[in-house]
Symmetry: none
Subunit: 137 residues, 4 copies
């Protein structure tokens, strides 16, 4: 897997990596058990500092997107979350409010927002059982 790092982007490099892995997982490009390239390979491919790659992997492990096994490498984790339903719901709603507010200030209508969200959802490979209760606790 290759990462496309935009050196002129406003967000940090490590965050770009994190988001690209998350996107790949969400779109089914990466699946549970898949192995990520080594830190040094990622760093060489993307021409970035290995420490930055490590930071990205730490963030991904924190979010339970990957698991890091000593000497073996990093693997995509089966989807799970250790957050409570309430906490997860609060995060989702906060993101929704934020997005909708910014969209308002950009001059978009409610229909515009729904349309954009719809387009984004179409690119995601959701698990077969579409219930919000599948995540743990």
């Amino acid at each position: 897997m290759l990462f496309r790092i935009d050196p002129l982007a406003s967000n940090p490099v490590f965050e770009q990596i994190v988001f690209q892995v998350k996107t790949a997982v969400a779109r089914g490009v990466l699946r549970a058990g898949d192995k990520l390239p080594s830190v040094r390979d990622i760093a060489k491919d993307a021409a970035i500092n290995p420490n930055t790659v490590v930071r990205a992997l730490e963030a991904l492990e924190r979010d339970r997107v990957i698991v890091r096994r000593q000497g073996a490498g990093c693997f995509i984790a089966p989807q799970s979350s250790d957050l409570t339903v309430k906490a997860r719901r609060a995060q989702l709603d906060a993101m929704a409010v934020r997005m909708v507010t910014e969209a308002f200030h950009l001059g978009f209508s409610a229909a515009d927002v729904r349309s954009s969200i719809g387009d984004a959802l179409d690119q995601i490979r959701f698990p077969s059982s579409p219930s919000s209760k599948r995540a743990s606790s």
Copy 2:
């Protein structure tokens, strides 16, 4: 108007102020021409440094949410985006992809996302002329 600042939150204090003003405008609590409290008053209310308030107001002026007038105060600006349709659309879509991706990793379904967005949209007071009403969702 009062600001609720969480000094322990991960996002910067000045950004919390920015978002709270944007939310108030989007919900119709603040309207074009309304005057914000003075820098000193906001700082005292929120128990933060006046310079931090100034930084928030600078960001709000940059986003055309308020105008700052020396000696007079800060006022909510009439909504007007000088940005290209293309640039605005790109921002909206990026936010949508980001939100949907994060929602996926939190274990939510497409229906959950649509529902959360719908709830958030219900709290916004959009301008009277509903521009592009496209078929969506």
Copy 3:
């Protein structure tokens, strides 16, 4: 790159920095991707406070002249205006009216103004594609 700061000038120090960077870009001295000196170096060179430099860089980023990347530095951005043609044109015309009016009160003729503008234009390195070549002057 060195900055020449006049602490006694009527315009703010941070604005002097902003204008000097913009001039350097317009004259081709600085090009897209070029790295600016660090905040601390600029502050030391110009004998001003680092926060003042930061303020200048924030203004330059707002105007899309530079991008700031945490931990990496500040870089000249590729030229790209996300502003509406109408908004940009309004800004240009306002500047023209202002300049011409002030020139009149300084006792200059129309020819003087055109000559001065011509001299200034000769120092700018415009992009290769000469967009709208309208009949003028």
Copy 4:
């Protein structure tokens, strides 16, 4: 004469007054010897603070656009300047460089700038002898 004050403008109120007087003179709407309304009339018309009007008149007197006579009122002055040719030329060129630089960063071409300046010049009523030597000293 009435002043149009834009409470949402970025520039100070007193500066708006100054510029409107200068524009009126440059366009021949106001001529040497014409009397301006009293401070209190201007303040009442524009719904602004009398002190702000006084500040504007002081600035206009400093620029030799008007003369203030005790008890008589303010009058448009015959065009003159106490600046040296060199100083005036420097001011003109600085304005030109500034305008051209900003125009560059807005994405305009040299032709665009010349055209905009030409339009602005067409609105000015220059004195019959179009020489830059008519101003004093």
